[in-house]
Each structure stands twice: as structure tokens, then as C-alpha cells.
């Protein structure tokens, strides 16, 4: 290979190439085949997207083998693949897989079986790949836009439904605004360093006066944009609307995939180039984390829509994850990784059950209202029992996976002497339990709703449910291998 495209470049780019090529082919399929034939071939399209994920998995595995704990830098420092990036990429892969598995039946019920849907999911994942691996402002920005643009379309995918359109528009407007902010922040950082490489920016920051206004403005603007992407308070306003209006599988993908990718970026950003400015951003993050936990948890209590409730709860989860970064020690960072991992499976699982509420019989009558889940334990005990497991895990109770995430966060706060923060964070567990168990109350102690929604269960749903439930229980009971994995990922 030439010096412009080395073997390392090739290895680093492989997963993205796989995702992008499969994504584009699927995107174009419907255009080439025509609507009618594409609809007839929809099972093949599903198969093709799953194949795309399999190829991606294989390339990631290849990277994992080749790296063996080392860091691979490609494209003269624009991309670097390390344990950290791989860890997040496995999470993205799991999120896409589960999303695709639950989407098939959901789209069938909604009557929106376009092939683009799957293409956009793969493209969004491709964007996430660059968010986790990018070490250059331009690469990061392109990755971010690729992911966001795919999501804008996916959120509004139910064209016939007002909620979905409204959500997409809201998400788009605020998302574009935050992207603009990020571009502005990046330009200031570029101005400071004279380079778009994160490494150079880090060196430039270290050699400058830390009270330099340009630097601080650049930091603040970039931070706001990043916080917007993880839907932390006070930049969270888009999340409840987008989550509620989006097709439920997209809500699931948005709430875990996009969030995990944004956290990967946030971590890389705050630790590498902005690491030297720690004193400046730490109080800011403390405030944002506490506000997120407070506003997220308190607002969730009053919600009657399941997806909105989960949206607010995910805002509070962002607060918890930020606390790991506030602590900033090894435990805290490991906590962020573990938390993101368990949150991914758990939230996917919970939203999967919500997605399954919508069935062929009831069609669009279901609006994911709390009442729709009423009496689920009698109608469908397996789904109800697994929902309890997911909710316990979201609340952070042992022996589910969610406890492990909280465990690391609390421990890191204690280690770094943030006792008051730790007390606040633990007490919010009890608050969160109140609204999570509001759902459990409906499922187990509520009367079956008159318009009894039958769970729509397909093979894909059941496989996805199996994956998420198994992960939630196994990580909870025997976390050792997963903790090792998270630990290794962070050794850089």
C-alpha cells in the first residue's frame, strides 16, 4: 500500500468502511429496486443489515487481536484505535444489533417498511465509530454530523404521525444549534493551537496561561455542545420530546447509542486536551451532574408517558455518569465505562418492552402511556418480569448490572473525598426507585387496560430480549470478565 494509505490506516478504517458501504447499499436499494420490490424483499434487507453488523464485528475483532492492548494511530493522528475506542465500539455494535432486531416488527406494524431505515442505522453507527476513535477536530465533527443527521431522519421516520414530525423538527433545530456551537468551540481551540489534532491542542493548552479568555470561551462553548449531546441539564430540553416522538426502536438507539458515543467523545475531550484545565471544568461538571440528577429524577416522577419517563430518567443517568468524570480517578473512569455498558443493555431492554407493547391488533392506538402497561404481569408474565429486572437495573439495585455502574461511581466519589456528592447521588437512587416502581406497580398491581394491548412478539424481539436480559443479569451476578474488559480498555 502507498504511503497515503498504510496498513495501519486500512486496519483503522475497516469497521467504518464496512458500516458505510453496507449502509449506503441499503440506502440505495429501495431506490434501485423500486418500492414494491423492496417491500417484498424486506426480509433480505434485514438480513443484509445484520450481515453488515457481522462484518463490522469481524473487523472490530480483527482490530482487537492486532492491537493487543496497544494504541493504533492512523491517518497521521486523525484516528486512533485503542482499548477505549474498541470498548465503546462494541457497545455501539450491541446497540445497533438490538435496535435492528426490534425494528422489523415495529416497522411492519407502523407500515413504514422502508429500507433506508436500516441504512441510516448503520450510517449512524459509522458516525459513532469516528466519535470514539477520532483524535482530530475535523474527523470528530464529521463523525458527529453523520450520526446526528442520521438520527434527525430516524426520529421523524413515522411520517404519518404528528408527534414524530414534531420531535424530529425540535431535535433537528436544537441539534443543529449545538453542532454550530461545537464548530465555534472547535474553531477557537484551533485558533489557540494552530492545529486540529487533539494532541497538539493538549500541548498548546499546557503551555498557555490557563486564564486566557479565548481558551476559556473555547472550553465553555465546546463543553456546552458536548453536554447538549449527552442531554445533561440545562441542555436537555430536546430529549423528552425526541424520545417520545421517535419510533420506539429509534428511541432505544438514540438513548444508548448516541449517548454512549457522545460520552466517548466527552471523555476523550475532557481528559486529553482539556485535562490541564481540570480546575476550570470540574465545578462546572459538578453543577451539571447535580442538576441533571435533580431535574431528571424529579421530572420523571410526574410523567405518565413511558418514553418521556425513560427520557427523564436517562437525563439523570447522564448526571451519574458525569460524576465518574468529576471524580476523575481510575475508578471513576472505569465507572463511566461500566456504567455506559450496563446502561446500554438495560435501557435497550426497557425500551424494547415498551416497543413490544405496540402490536398488530391495537396498531397505533397505543401511545406508550403508563396505562398501556397496566396489568402486563397477567397478560405476559415473561415480559413483565424482565421489565422488572431492567427497571431494577436502571435504579441500580443489586443483583442486577445497574448496581455495578453505581457502585463504581459512588466508590470513586468516596475515594476523591466528594462525600456530599456521594450522599446526594445515593439518595437519588431512592427517588428514582419511586418512579421506576410506578411502572412495576402498573404492571403487577394495575388492572388490565380495557384496550388490552397484546404484546407483539417476533423472533427478533425475543432474541433481543434474550440478549439484553442475559447481559443485565449476567453482568450483575458475575461481573468479573466485564470489569476486566472495562479496566483493560482504559489502560492507555
Amino acid at each position: 500500500m502507498s504511503q497515503f494509505y498504510t496498513a495501519a490506516d486500512n486496519l483503522a478504517l475497516k469497521p467504518a468502511l464496512a458500516l458505510a458501504s453496507f449502509g449506503c447499499v441499503i440506502l440505495l436499494l429501495e431506490f434501485m429496486l423500486g418500492r414494491a420490490r423492496a417491500a417484498a424483499a424486506r426480509q433480505w434487507i434485514l438480513g443484509l443489515s445484520l450481515t453488515g453488523l457481522a462484518v463490522t464485528a469481524w473487523t472490530l475483532w480483527e482490530q482487537q487481536q492486532a492491537l493487543d492492548g496497544r494504541r493504533l494511530t492512523a491517518f497521521s493522528g486523525a484516528i486512533s484505535v485503542d482499548g477505549f475506542a474498541l470498548f465503546f465500539n462494541w457497545i455501539f455494535l450491541a446497540a445497533s444489533l438490538v435496535t435492528i432486531l426490534i425494528s422489523y416488527r415495529y416497522l411492519e406494524i407502523e407500515g413504514e417498511e422502508q429500507a433506508e431505515y436500516y441504512g441510516l442505522i448503520l450510517l449512524a453507527q459509522c458516525g459513532m465509530y469516528f466519535l470514539a476513535t477520532g483524535t482530530d477536530l475535523i474527523t470528530i465533527f464529521v463523525g458527529l454530523e453523520l450520526m446526528s443527521l442520521s438520527f434527525y431522519i430516524l426520529v421523524g421516520f413515522l411520517r404519518g404521525e404528528r408527534r414524530s414530525n414534531e420531535a424530529a423538527l425540535k431535535y433537528f433545530l436544537l441539534g443543529v444549534f449545538s453542532s454550530a456551537l461545537m464548530a465555534y468551540g472547535f474553531s477557537l481551540l484551533f485558533g489557540v493551537a494552530g492545529s486540529t489534532r487533539l494532541k497538539d491542542i493538549a500541548t498548546a493548552i499546557q503551555s498557555r496561561d490557563l486564564h486566557d479568555p479565548i481558551l476559556l470561551v473555547g472550553l465553555a462553548v465546546t463543553a456546552v455542545a458536548l453536554l447538549f449531546k449527552i442531554s445533561a441539564v440545562p441542555f436537555h430540553m430536546w430529549a423528552p420530546d425526541a424520545y417520545e416522538g421517535a419510533p420506539t426502536p429509534v428511541t432505544a438507539f438514540l438513548s444508548v447509542g448516541s449517548k454512549a458515543a457522545s460520552f466517548a467523545l466527552l471523555l476523550r475531550f475532557f481528559l486529553e486536551p482539556l485535562g490541564a484545565l481540570r480546575d476550570a471544568w470540574q465545578p462546572l461538571l459538578v453543577a451539571v451532574a447535580v442538576l441533571s440528577m435533580t431535574a431528571g429524577n424529579l421530572a420523571a416522577i410526574t410523567q405518565t408517558n413511558l418514553k418521556r419517563l425513560i427520557a427523564y430518567s436517562s437525563i439523570s443517568h447522564a448526571g451519574y455518569i458525569l460524576l465518574g468524570l468529576v471524580a476523575g480517578n481510575e475508578t471513576g473512569l472505569q465507572g463511566v465505562a461500566v456504567y455506559v455498558l450496563v446502561y446500554t443493555f438495560t435501557n435497550l431492554g426497557a425500551l424494547l418492552v415498551v416497543a413490544a407493547l405496540r402490536s398488530k391488533v391495537t396498531g397505533r392506538g397505543i401511545e406508550e402511556d403508563l396505562n398501556d402497561i397496566s396489568g402486563l404481569a397477567q397478560r405476559n408474565p415473561t415480559y413483565a418480569a424482565l421489565m422488572v429486572v431492567f427497571l431494577l437495573s436502571l435504579a441500580g439495585l443489586p443483583p442486577t448490572a445497574g448496581f455495578l455502574g453505581k457502585y463504581y461511581i459512588f466508590l470513586s466519589l468516596i475515594q476523591t473525598g466528594h462525600t456530599v456528592l456521594a450522599v446526594v447521588a445515593t439518595l437519588y437512587v431512592a427517588v428514582a426507585l419511586y418512579y421506576y416502581f410506578g411502572i412495576v406497580k402498573m404492571m403487577y398491581m394495575g388492572q388490565a387496560a380495557e384496550r388490552a394491548s397484546l404484546i407483539s412478539s417476533s423472533v427478533g424481539m425475543r432474541v433481543a430480549l434474550g440478549i439484553t436480559a442475559a447481559a443485565t443479569v449476567v453482568i450483575g451476578l458475575y461481573p468479573e470478565p466485564f470489569l476486566r474488559f472495562a479496566e483493560i480498555s482504559l489502560l492507555r
Binding site: L411, T419, V423, F437
Partner: protein, 498 residues
Amino acid sequence: MTQHLLSIVLFLPLVGLIPLLLIPSDQKRTLKLCANGVMLAGFLLSLPLALQFDADAAGYQFTENAAWIPSIGASFNIGIDGISLLLVMLTTLIGFLATLASWSAVEDRLKEYYALFLILQAGMLGVFVSLDLFLFYVFWEVVLIPMYFIIGIWGGQRRLYAAIKFFIYTLAGSVLMLLGILTLYFQHAKEYNVYTFDLARLLNTHMAMGTEQFVFWTLFLGFAIKVPMFPFHTWLPDAHVEAPTAGSVVLASVMLKMGAYGFVRFSLPLAPHVSSEPWVVATIAALSIIAILYGALVCLMQKDWKRLVAYSSVSHMGFVTLGIFALNYNGIAGGVIQSINHGISTGMLFLIVGVVYERRHSREISAYGGLAHVMPNFAVVFAIAMWSSAGLPLLNGFIGEFTILAGAFAVSKLWAVLASLGVILAAAYLLWLYQRTMLGEVTHEINRKLRDLNAREWAIFLPLIAWAIWIGVYPKPHFDVLEKPVQAIVERVAGGAR
């Protein structure tokens, strides 16, 4: 077999879950037989623990240790000493009897009901046998979940409110307890550079006074809410009253003991300096005495039979915490014995309410009167339970309260005097309850048709009565197994006192 006896006892309920879940939901009889069979087997398997237990050996017995999460230093480390032995026996016995008491009381959603009881049983046993704080915490939390469902699904009128109140209240306490555990864990790692949750190793941790205060008070909140101590008791009347009979029995007899056990096993040995600070002891003793007197006075006011029994728990558990924080041998041993006693006698009192409730569907004291004429056998059982609870000599309650008062007296005469007022009040509210419900003429015609105890109900009460008399007449074997561990705790706390 023998070297894994303890984990067999611990996991048997969970293993029993598998056949239970495979039985179709409409085969009610088979479900009941299966659940009762598993619980009975659990009790029978726990008997060898008591028989093979060596009271003269120091340290833990039936220990098992296996790696679990080495990267954070948590292991599956279990074992029992005399204190845990008594509580494990209480748990297996009460667990079985509570299940048996549900035979005709619960008829809907049986599969879920018994499955939850089996999970609950494993959780409670786990709390009493864990020697690793991480493992302990996991079991501690596991207990909450099934109890929430038991209260919320099969409970009385205000069950939803009671269930979530119980859950939130106790969870708030236990997450704070987690912070205490993590602080201790971190302090140990700072001192020895080893991250471990092993109780035996954590006992070697030296902490600055401020840190030890934090550890002590966070643990205290977790345990005090569970006991419950005044003023953290407000979840108890709701939960106990609304829970179905078997739920109330398990709550009162076993779950409250988790708090007392936590004080003895963790608070005192892990934070000996703070536990022996005069103002800490005085505060906790004052709270205990308030609980004893306040609980008893509230009992005198109750119109609801079950609520009366619930508040009597607040009063009786006040004795337990008072004994434990007397910090001498009599106090702590008495506290543990009284925990068992309370399990036996309050368990019986809740079962008694259950017997009449199942027949009449009313808990109002005024709905009954003169039942002794209609249900003579029941009247005898109730009388024994009442005397046992009131602390009449030759029954278990007397031994426990006497030992605690002896322990308290050694520390402060005032404590002993105030606490003995509680004994008098207990006799008053219990006798008055008995008089109103059992003695005199039959007040309601409908009560004339009530049937007396049947064979199954006798089978539930007899083991408890036998144990009550055994402790009352010949408590020595119980004190024998307690001697070594309690002595060790007393010495440790005395060593910590300055």
C-alpha cells in the same frame, strides 16, 4: 456434603424455584405442596447446622470461600457463629411456617406468591451468613424486592402506599449504608493497599475518628431503619398492617432482625470507638427507651388488632437495641436472644391475627369479643403467645428482657427503670387486648360460628410454642452458642473505648 451444608441451606430456596416455575399456574395444590416442601426441606437441612455446631470453638463455622469478583475484592465468603446460627434457624423455621400459614389464606397468583417467598427466604439467609460486605449488601437489597411485591399484590386496602413506602424508606437507609461500606473498604485499601470486602480483614482497619463517625452513622441509618428504631419506624405500622399474614410474620420475625444483626455483626466491631463514645451510647439508648415507651403507649390506643401487634414490635425492638448498646455481655447476648424471642412471639401474634382475619375478614378489635367460648384451643394458643410477648417467667420473653435489663442496669439504673416501665405497659396492652377479644360474652352473633384451630394451624403454632417454652425453661443451649462471639464483641468494643 457437610462442607457445603451452609450453601445448600442458602440456595435451596432458589433451587426450589425451578420446579415451582415449571408447574402450571392452575394446579394450585401442586404449587402449594411444592413451596411447602421446599421450605420444609430447607428447615430440615438447617437442623444439622445446629446439631453439628460446636459452641466451644471460636470464630466462624461451616465456612466456605470462593472467588467471585476478584477485581474488586469481593468473594463468596460465608460462615456462621452462634449469633448467625440462631437467626438462621429462626429464618428457616419461620419461613416454613409462614408458607404453611398461606395455604388457605392466599388463593390468587399462587405461583408468583410462592416464588417471591422463596427468593425472600434465600435473601434473608444470605444476610445472616455473609462474611463479605459486598455479598452482604447484595443479599440485603435482594430482600426488599420480593417483600415489595408481597405487600403490594396480596396486601390489604392501602397496600400500594404501604409497599412503596416500605421500599423507599428501607432503600434510602441501605444506599447510605453502602456509602459507609465503601468508605471502610477504601480506608482499608489506603492502609494495607489491598481492596477487599472480607469482614475479617476489614476489622483490622484503623480510621481517623471523623471517618469512623461517617462509617458508623451511615451503617446506623441502614440498620436503624430496618430495626426500626424511633424515629425511623413510621414505615413499619403501614407495612406490617397491610402485608398479608405470612408477609407480616416474615417482616416482623426475621426482617427486623436484620437490623439488630447488623448492629451486632458490623456496627460494633467495625466502629468500636464511635460505638463506645458516651454520647453515642446515650443517644441510641435514649432512642431505644423512647421506642419502648412510645411503642407501648401507642399500642394502648389501637383499635386495630394487627396495628397493635405492629406497634408492639417497635416497643420490643427497642429492648433489643437498648441491650446491644449497653455494650456488655448481658446486654448483647440478651439483645440477640430477645431478637429470637420477638421472632417467636410476634410471629405467633401475627399468625393469630391471621387466623381470625381469615375467618372473619376484620382486624377491628371491636369486631371480636368472647372468642374463648367459641374457639377454646385458639384462646389457649393466644394466651401463650401473649404471655411470651409480655415476658412472663417460664416463657421466652422473660429470659430476653431480664437479661437485657440486667445489662442495662449495669450501665445505668435509670435506663433499667424506664425500660421496665415498658414491660409493665406491654403486660397492660396485651392483657387488655386479650380481655377485649377473648373474654366475656360473645359480642357478635356472627362470631359464634367461627371454627377453632384446624390441624394445619396447630402444626404452625406448636413448634413456636415449643421453642418459646424451651427458651423460657432451659435457655442454656442458646446462651452457650452466644458466649464466644458475644464475648469477642464485648472485648473488641471495650478495647476501642478510651
